[in-house]
Symmetry: C2
Subunit: 125 residues, 2 copies
């Protein structure tokens, strides 16, 4: 009980967030502009993030990869907080899930098509 006396010790700066999350500094600033992050500021104006901002940024990347927009991610962020979710948000969650599911099927179909072509080009070089 010596290094964990305060709740939120040792905030990190934007460079560390970016490096640990595997994105660019510009991207992290962009997430703030889109309302996904609201870091504290040092007296000189530098952004200060809690350590788990890294986890959050990775989550954003995952959602972006799934085709969600910044706006959607921002709208669904309260769901990340237990108890802060209404009917509309739960409906959006399900809608996005359905979108991803459909996209998965499309990708699988495209993969099958490519496999067909690959097989033909391999047996008929």
């Amino acid at each position: 009980m010596a290094t964990t006396d305060a709740v939120d010790a040792r905030p990190i700066r934007i460079g560390e967030v970016a490096r640990d999350a595997g994105v660019s500094v510009r991207a992290v600033r962009y997430y703030e502009q889109e309302g996904l992050l609201t870091p504290r500021r040092s007296p000189s104006g530098q952004r200060l993030y809690p350590r788990d901002a890294v986890v959050l940024v990775r989550f954003f990347q995952q959602m972006y990869a799934a085709g969600l927009t910044s706006r959607r991610i921002a709208e669904l962020l309260p769901c990340w907080d237990i108890g802060h979710t209404n009917a509309e948000q739960r409906a959006m969650l399900r809608a996005e899930r359905a979108r991803i599911r459909a996209k998965l099927d499309d990708l699988q179909a495209a993969l099958d098509r490519l496999d067909e072509i690959i097989e033909v080009t391999d047996t008929h070089p």
Copy 2:
């Protein structure tokens, strides 16, 4: 053997291609600009497509949905023709397959994350 005397009878115009393939006329012109289609021309300059252009356009859509660019699709078009494929093209086929496979895994992971959140928000409304 009365309606199929010629090899490639009754070409269709761009509107029919677009409607049957479920895309816009603009999209079909764009595919031509990108080298994916090379329709014949009527004396007055209108584009004339063989009927199976519809199948081709659907295939383009599928590849676009899988994240391929017009350029990549154009480069891989010869593979569609049996016997017109070299080593480089077969390598590209495999590379794209790997990309799609990775994307599939990413999407599946995102879907799982969303399902987690959905479950939590459902049990803690």
